[in-house]
């Protein structure tokens, strides 16, 4: 993207033409340091910034988030069929027993059927036919 100051930059460059005496900055630094008056400094603890304080927690949170993401991705590609099949079987078993209960509770097996069943068991016992089994 073209800089908006490119016209000035191309024509005039960045050197304003100012210069300083030789060793000016070295001399200035020494002179200035020697010139500083004695002052009283109150010792203080510099408070760390908010970011500096929460940085370890943020990094920890990011690490856990990363681990969670990795586990999710790993499960998705490798373990999803196993986990789901176990769940499906459990659900099916639960569903079957629920259906059986419902079948009994709905009155599909009547008292008459139960009595017939008990009679047939008693008769079988008298014949001794059960024992043959």
């Amino acid at each position: 993207m073209k800089r908006e100051d490119s016209t000035i930059l191309n024509k005039y460059g960045k050197d304003p033409g100012f210069k300083v005496p030789e060793n000016y900055f070295d001399d200035f630094n020494k002179k200035m340091a020697a010139m500083l008056p004695d002052i009283e400094i109150t010792p203080v603890d510099i408070k760390p910034t908010m970011w500096q304080r929460i940085k370890p927690l943020a990094y920890l949170a990011a690490m856990f988030a990363g681990v969670w993401c990795m586990m999710t991705v790993f499960n998705h590609f490798n373990g999803v069929s196993n986990v789901n099949s176990v769940g499906a079987v459990a659900e099916k078993l639960h569903s079957d027993s629920r259906n059986l209960d419902e079948f009994i509770m709905s009155g599909s097996v009547s008292d008459y059927d139960i009595l017939n069943y008990e009679d047939s068991v008693a008769m079988s016992n008298e014949d001794g036919s059960i024992d043959e089994y």
């Binding site: 005039y12 033409g17 510099i46």
Partner: protein, 186 residues
Amino acid sequence: MAAREKYDEAQVVEQLHDPKQCRTAFGKVIEHYSSQLYWQIRRMVIDHDDANDVLQNTFMKAWTNIDNFRGDAKLSTWLYKIAINESITFVNKKKVMNQLSIDDDESFLVNQLESDEWFDGDQAQINLQKAIAALPEKQRLVFNLRYYDEMKYDEMSEILGTSEGALKASYHHAVKKIEQFLGETD
């Protein structure tokens, strides 16, 4: 020449608040910032001797107010603020001495540039300095910080206390005015 010690700002800021180490630490601050502050001041006041005086005042003010610096902002931001305020105060005083109004632009500063011992630019550079000096104070500051120092707008915003959007607009206007000024001069 002895190798200069590596400048660690966090460590220096800590030392500045330790009575036993503060003077040494401030020496490091002077060494690290004198050049960049000088050039910023020089572009504002133009004359080398004036820039030297303003730079001294800047460090003196920083040193005597070091207790007020709590490390909430960057040290460079704090020093730039002082340097800019000192430059503006100096230029306004000079205007009064030259019997000019505070609202007048700073073109008078550039008039002596041709005969300045510490200027080796050509006529084109003098024209550019005249164009910059003709800008309103804020646009001049923004232009100098952006054009010469390539300072980021967010950093500039902290120093000048102005929104980034307003600074971008100031820079845009400054560039247009300088182009117009130079177009009329050529």
